[in-house]
């Protein structure tokens, strides 16, 4: 049995490479470290390599080279001990639809060597936490989409993992269920479980996570604390709804970019340090009367788009907070 030092990173990945049999290089030397207790976002567009990375860590995908340590345990040296630290909530539903939630949870614990009487007690707790206790004895295939997702989180918590990995856990669920799941994940993290989350909802990552990495084309293109990453955004974007017809010639504003989206809407990108009054002065001079204005997108989304649209430049300015 491998001894575990509580101070070691929850996940340490070094120079991880994966080339599939069809020649696709999904990971091209990924290295990252997740501190114990962290809430960590792994972001990237479709096909970036997120699910491959998670698959290798959870031993669903064979790696080509590199090392993976879960809570300090090398998955090659002692796979069983490493997997005991890990809980996985995959992207696709992967429980037996013909089993009851209580059986799914109890059997899952059994696969980890947890005695049945202990598993039955835990199953009641995790199903109550997931608000599924009333459905504990119905066929799982009759559960709603949101309930199935919550069941996968409940199942993963049966083994009380030190590291919980969730691969797009809220994909396709409505906003109310999503917010409920956020609360559940916050509670799990507050109780000491390290969480790694992949998501396409960047507001989700911004609301939950303290650190993030952006992965694209099999490489980490940016990594750091949420705070430091967002501070890197030196440009803000606004949309203006204009009351009157826009002039043919838009005003020139030094340092900013102004584009007409249609006859009554303006799109502005400006440096953060720039005084917004200068913009309004220029609008006044051009006879543009603004009815309302709003920020163009959420901040993390802006960062994400910039990172993955210019991966080469992004790679050069990689930071670690």
């Amino acid at each position: 049995m491998t001894a575990i030092d509580p101070g070691v990173p929850a996940l340490c990945v070094q120079a991880l490479k994966k080339t599939y049999d069809n020649g696709v290089e999904a990971l091209k030397g990924v290295s990252l470290e997740v501190a114990p207790g962290d809430f960590y976002a792994l972001l990237g567009p479709n096909g970036a390599g997120k699910s491959t990375l998670i698959g290798i860590v959870s031993s669903l995908v064979n790696k080509t080279s590199g090392t993976v340590k879960v809570c300090g345990i090398d998955i090659d040296a002692d796979r069983s001990a490493a997997m005991r630290q890990l809980g996985l909530v995959p992207q696709e539903i992967n429980f037996n639809m013909f089993e009851k939630p209580i059986d799914i949870c109890v059997n899952y614990a059994g696969f980890y060597g947890i005695p049945r009487e202990v598993a039955l007690e835990r199953a009641e707790k995790v199903l109550r936490d997931a608000q599924l206790w009333e459905k504990a004895n119905v066929m799982s295939r009759t559960l709603s989409g949101g309930m199935k997702r919550r069941l996968m989180i409940a199942r993963a918590m049966m083994t009380e993992p030190r590291l919980l990995i969730l691969d797009e856990p809220t994909a396709g669920v409505d906003i109310e269920i999503r917010r409920g799941m956020w609360q559940t994940l916050k509670k799990i993290n507050a109780a000491g479980t390290t969480i790694i989350l992949t998501t396409h909802y960047l507001e989700e990552a911004e609301a939950l996570c303290r650190h993030l990495a952006i992965i694209d084309h099999g490489r980490i293109v940016a990594e750091g604390s949420m705070k430091s990453m967002l501070a890197r955004l030196d440009v803000e974007g606004f949309l203006f709804d204009v009351e009157n017809e826009l002039p043919l010639q838009l005003p020139e504003i030094e340092g900013a970019t102004l584009i007409a989206l249609d006859g009554h809407t303006l799109d502005l990108d400006m440096p953060r340090a720039m005084d917004l009054n200068r913009v309004f002065d220029a609008f006044d001079d051009a006879g543009i009367r603004v009815r309302s204005m709003r920020t163009k997108s959420n901040r993390l989304e802006e960062l994400f788009v910039r990172m993955i649209s210019a991966p080469q430049e992004a790679a050069e300015v990689e930071v670690r907070a």
Binding site: L60, S80, A82, N94, N107, Y108, F111, I114
Partner: protein, 256 residues
């Protein structure tokens, strides 16, 4: 029981047994009906005109073959459908991410399939005893041969399920390989009735040895030396078991 591997093994076996009993109209009833028809038509109607075979009545002669046929088909069918179903439904991932070693996964599925084979075998034997008395002069050989036969075809069904990519793939082998080998393995006749070349060809059929070992246990007659049959069955268990473990280690059909 506090050993994590034994708890995991017990969990897989329990889940398999629950599955077998949950879908009993698919798992237990069809072989009972089919074998009853075999006993009525082949044993009763046709058998009464055949007379004796290898010194025993024809009805008694086909009992071991029909029991073994049921055991083989059900062991094979159980593991191939259950394991492939787990792959298809992706809940195989529950096992792949768990800390349990590969031998536990393989043993658990094989034990579940063997239990179904034995359960169906016991049902068919009970039906057979309604038609003809069964003496069982060699109980140890009877039990050992049925256990080994069930294990061999559970392991073979596992290999089939690992490589299967669609449900058709787990029906092709039973339809085009298993059934012909069973029917040509001396279930309904003594190999001595065949021409020499066919007798030689029959000796290449592993099911022939299983049926005859089992027949020796039940009736005390066999077309092959019983220890040859056991040696061959053990070789198959070891070979297929090693292949199953290797497939799990490599993650073939399961890990990309």
């Amino acid at each position: 029981m506090s050993n994590p591997n034994l708890i995991a093994l017990g969990t897989i076996v329990r889940r398999e047994v629950v599955r077998i009993l949950r879908i009993w109209p698919q798992t237990l009833v069809p072989p009972a009906i089919t074998m009853t028809l075999y006993f009525l038509i082949f044993g009763g109607l046709i058998g009464s005109r055949v007379g004796q075979m290898d010194g025993v009545g024809y009805m008694a002669f086909i009992v071991p073959g029909l029991v073994m046929m049921s055991v083989i088909q059900n062991s094979y069918g159980n593991i191939s459908s259950s394991f492939f179903g787990a792959k298809f439904g992706r809940h195989i991932e529950e096992l792949m991410v768990s800390p349990m070693p590969n031998w536990v996964i393989l043993t658990g599925y094989v034990a579940g399939a063997v239990l179904r084979g034995l359960l169906v075998g016991a049902i068919v034997m009970a039906i057979a005893m309604l038609f003809t008395p069964v003496r069982m002069p060699h109980p140890f050989i009877t039990i050992a041969s049925v256990l080994l036969g069930a294990t061999i075809f559970s392991l073979a069904g596992f290999v089939n399920a690992v490589y299967a990519k669609k449900f058709d793939d787990i029906t092709i082998v039973p339809t085009f390989i298993l059934t012909p080998l069973t029917y040509l393995g001396g279930v309904f006749y003594s190999v001595k009735l065949l021409p020499e070349w066919a007798q030689a060809a029959t000796h290449l059929n592993p099911i022939f040895y299983m049926v005859n070992a089992f027949r020796y246990g039940l009736l005390g007659v066999s077309d092959v030396p019983v220890w040859t049959a056991f040696a061959l069955m053990l070789v198959f268990v070891v070979g297929l078991g090693a292949l199953g473990l290797w497939l799990l280690k490599r993650g073939i059909g399961m890990r990309s």
